[in-house]
Symmetry: C2
Subunit: 222 residues, 2 copies
């Protein structure tokens, strides 16, 4: 493959990855909206759309393999291709978590609402923003923006702990809500994992842009 | 790099991966034993040993990058190297889950035991076996053994649901145990994720051996 063709293929890989990111982001948004706005149809839509995300994952992996097989890539391209492969994986997992939330929403909507949702929408907005910005950081090759995603993960974990505490208190006060409150706890766990995947993507962007592996570094050394 | 040297490097990559797998398996085993046998020291040991796993992950990723950069690998080698990169990632996450279990154990051991542990040890034995066999399948290039790991993941999920139900029932009967029972639920979630990572590894082994991507296929078509 000549260099120009190779560059086009790299650009195409990036476009597919962004398309996939769009699907994953949409799935998360629809899943949480289904829960918050009590829309069963929207939850079912998320379940139906999972196939498109899975198909895209396989297509992107094929592209990665082809690019690695056909031309001996230079260091910077190699880092991009390997990052793309990992980001692809994280995006598919984000889609999985959206499916988990949609399924939980369908179960939760069968029962009266345990409490008004306050922290859960904040947590989901935060997690969605992290996914969006980790991909923006990829497009703009912006290591600073990627770093801002890492910082927000602590806030997601803080909200998760707060949601856990509040729901466990509800459970203690009224054992009738135990099952419903537990479902909401699982939703918070799913959002936590979405934040974790966005963090992985942000770390990959930093690795790609700065050529520096910051995983397992203390926060002040990132 | 000449072919013979390349083969040696591939073998070395595999050995490092198995070493890392040993560390991850050991961490999981020690973490659950710390909980079941009430050994705080063992839980702390898991926390201390996390660094070794993280260091190994970075070393393996470096090897992957070098192998991809230095020689245009053939299709079969390329599949192995990409699989190694993904398995490396899953092993590190298994180590993370072991750390989560060890931290939970330290919190749980401060309180009286909620109930005798019956399903949790079964679930952890199952998850540990899945990790071990997914790596055995890698060493022996045994797609059948890898498939047996996929089947066991359903059993892990079934045990998780059973543990959830039982602990939620305890919570309903006695609100004093809500916090402790919730910690055990989180341990079951961690074990579930260890099973998921073993499943990912098994899928990678099948991809590597059979050159066939079975992710997202219905169980009867795997």
């Amino acid at each position: 493959m000549e260099r120009r063709h190779f560059e086009l293929e790299l650009e195409e890989l990036k476009q597919r990855l962004l398309w996939m990111a769009g699907l994953a982001e949409k799935a998360v948004h629809e899943a949480v909206q289904a829960l918050f706005e009590k829309k069963e149809d929207l939850a079912r839509k998320v379940l139906e759309e999972e196939t498109a995300i899975n198909d895209m994952q396989l297509e992107i992996d094929d592209r990665v393999l082809r690019l690695l097989a056909l031309q001996q890539p230079m260091a910077v391209d190699l880092r991009f291709i390997l990052s793309a492969s990992r980001i692809n994986n994280d995006l598919e997992r984000i889609g999985d978590q959206a499916v988990n939330i949609a399924q939980a929403a369908l179960r939760i909507l069968r029962h009266p609402q345990v409490k008004p949702y306050v922290d859960l929408p904040r947590m989901s907005a935060l997690a969605e923003g992290m996914v969006r910005d980790s991909l923006n950081a990829l497009v703009q090759r912006d290591a600073e923006l990627a770093r801002s995603v890492l910082v927000r993960d602590d806030e997601v974990d803080r909200l998760r702990d707060q949601i856990f505490r509040e729901l466990l208190t509800y459970m203690m006060e009224n054992s009738a809500v135990i099952f419903s409150a537990f479902e909401l706890i699982l939703v918070a766990k799913n959002l936590e994992r979405i934040g974790d995947h966005a963090t992985n993507i942000a770390e990959d962007v930093i690795y790609m842009v700065a050529g520096r592996d910051i995983r397992h570094l203390a926060p002040d050394r990132r």
